[in-house]
């Protein structure tokens, strides 16, 4: 027998959850379109279908809690309040992107909002999450870190290593596996011997619970309870959110590993439609209210596309920025690079060729040279005190 449905939160909160899920959905759809128009390069992993998992879990956190996720992380930035304009600009590789175009789709980040990043290496974020939780604990702060990763990551070495260490040191971290049924194109039952993923941490000292990742109410209830237990008990716990991605793993996915019927069956449980219907049935919203939320989300993502398109590409002389924090403790050559060769003749992002070295670049580099230094093709970056 199915459990009784979870109660709704206060109307204003319920509306905000729907708004944010809708914003993520519309953002991802627009991103997909812009990818098809080649405005976005590389890989693009969309969260369509997983909105309840994202919003339900993130809304269980305090602002001071940390969230860390994977290469499928546009929604995680948005749910924490990063403006969609800057997330879209990052996808476009522009200067106004959250990471100034350095990270792209897989590497969103917003330190101000304690979104500690999307990570491109499967399982790479687990140790980092435990380290953040250790810093909270070490400093006597009661923050919790919520670490999300996919079912595929539960097979990485870091899963076992990090859960063991987090349990051993009683770190305030919630490990949350977003079980969307596939590690890329390999179904759960074909990649994990244990398919009850909520039990996969038991032998490591991390018991788990499961939530319905298609239901924002259930996700929120389970994650809230778990987060507060972790905060109070100072120990890690595991959550398995059972969900489904409606689109391919990335944009380059013919989806030969699943049937259309299977996808359609899951779409019957679309987390946004079902939650919207619930809000209407309980009188929180009417049909016009639903329309309004959708129209507002569409307008916002259109503005984000417009903003991203207007944002400039990073200039060639920004290539070396932020590789190092230059300080007084060092001098000498940090990097060796034939930047002049790289700039001259290299195609610029809009397809034109830079046949001349930008003046700013050469003079910036010349300023770093000492008198008597031979002129050569090799230019080097030197520490401030050098």
């Amino acid at each position: 027998m199915a459990p009784p449905p979870r109660a709704l939160p206060a109307p204003q909160e319920a509306r905000e959850w729907l708004q944010t899920m809708t914003l993520i959905r519309r953002f991802e759809e627009r991103a997909g379109e812009q990818y098809a128009r080649a405005k976005i390069g590389g890989f693009l992993h969309l969260s369509i279908g997983e909105e309840a998992t994202i919003v339900g879990s993130a809304r269980a956190l305090r602002d001071s809690d940390y969230l860390i996720s994977t290469y499928r992380s546009h929604g995680h930035a948005l749910v924490r309040g990063t403006p969609p304009e800057n997330v879209m600009a990052e996808l476009f590789g522009r200067r106004d992107g959250v990471c100034h175009g350095r990270g792209g789709s897989m590497h969103m980040f917003d330190i101000e909002r304690r979104f500690m990043g999307g990570y491109g290496i499967v399982g790479g974020n687990l140790p980092i999450a435990a380290g953040i939780a250790m810093a909270s604990d070490y400093s006597g702060r009661d923050e919790v870190t919520l670490c999300q990763f996919g079912d595929g990551a539960s097979n990485q070495g870091t899963f076992g290593e990090t859960l063991n260490l987090a349990a051993l040191w009683r770190l305030p971290v919630v490990f949350m596996v977003t079980n969307n049924q596939f590690g890329m194109g390999t179904a759960l039952g074909r990649h994990s011997a244990v398919t009850d993923l909520c039990r996969k941490g038991e032998s490591l000292g991390v018991p788990g619970v499961r939530c319905d990742g298609m239901d924002v109410l259930d996700t929120h209830a389970v994650v809230s309870e778990t987060v507060e237990r972790v905060r109070a008990e100072r120990r890690p716990l595991l959550i398995e959110a059972v969900t489904y991605r409606f689109r391919g793993h990335s944009m380059a996915d013919p989806e030969q590993y699943r049937t259309k019927d299977e996808v359609e069956a899951w779409k019957q449980r679309d987390p946004i439609l079902t939650f919207g219907e619930r809000l209407v049935s309980e009188g929180v919203l009417d049909a016009a209210g639903l329309e309004e939320i959708d129209a507002a989300a569409l307008a916002r993502v259109d503005a984000a596309v417009e903003f991203a398109d207007a944002s400039p590409f990073p200039a060639p002389d920004e290539l070396f920025d932020d590789i190092y924090v230059l300080g007084d403790g060092s001098r000498g050559w940090y990097s060796v690079e034939t930047t002049e060769e790289r700039s001259a003749g290299a195609p610029s992002p809009d397809g034109a060729r830079n046949d001349e070295i930008p003046q700013q670049l050469t003079s910036a580099l010349a300023a770093g040279e000492e008198g008597g230094e031979p002129e050569g093709e090799t230019v080097r970056r030197r520490a401030a005190g050098g």
Partner: protein, 334 residues
Amino acid sequence: MAEMRYREALGAALREELQRDERVMLMGEDIGVFGGAFKVTDGLLEEFGESRVRDTPISENTIVGMGVGAAMAGLRPVVELMTINFSLLAFDQIVNHASKIHFMFGGQARVPLVVRMPQGAGHQLGPTHSHCFEALYLQVPGLLVAVPSTPADAKGLLKTAIRDENPVIFIEHESLYGTRGDVPDEEDHLVQFGVARTVREGSDVTIVGISRMAVTAERAAATLSSEHGIEAEVIDPRTLRPLDLDTILSSVRRTNRCVIVEEGWPHGGVGANLAALIGEQAFDDLDAPVQRVTGADVPMPYSKPLEDIAYPHEPQVVAAALSALGRDAAGRTS
């Protein structure tokens, strides 16, 4: 000034930085109760307690990754790996994460993390415990790489590394832990990164020695002087990133000859890189090709006679210097 062993100098640096800055904490396998596989951290657990000196499970990738996360969240973790060979298990966290986070997140986060570990052959530890991997880490933009060869540099560079805002790969040498030297005992004995140490002045040939090979190069220089009347200038770069290329180039411009000595493999090694830089920057000043003395291009064998010939010793450095000067093995001009 106090005479101390290399391992004691490292321990002193850790103790002083733990005292100085509450954010500094240590993690590693057997660094606490056991006192450290090489006794560098001996006594620190008793002095600073279990929160700041943490014994970890054998999970290299995760302890480095936790160091990354803790550094991002405001701590200054110092992770000890038992040897550099085991750091390959943590290569993902070092290369894909620690080195890139500041850059790929647009400067929003910093990773002031130190990963300490020893390297080197000579103890019959065989193919998986004896290698030198400074070249692997040197290659990665975003990392700083220190290779101290004296107790004074071990202390001064480690203190600087802990205070630096970047991830630092701090490479110690197993054979140097017991060596003695004078170490300034003042609290603020810091050695700047990117400043080479001229071990010995000379005008005939420049010998650049990396890590322990700075010691080997110094001994070779003494032999060159006493037996061949050749005065070699010996330079220890102390850090490979940033690199004090200026000191090396200025020496090469005076001596016109250069020998680079390293314990690691020849292909894509530190010497290969440095020889290329010297070739690009000082080609016209060279009177002979840059010579490299490196470890043999083989996995390190266990058997003592084979191990001995698989990494450089003083005679090979002397021979390379003589060759750079156009002399045969007996020192005659050929």
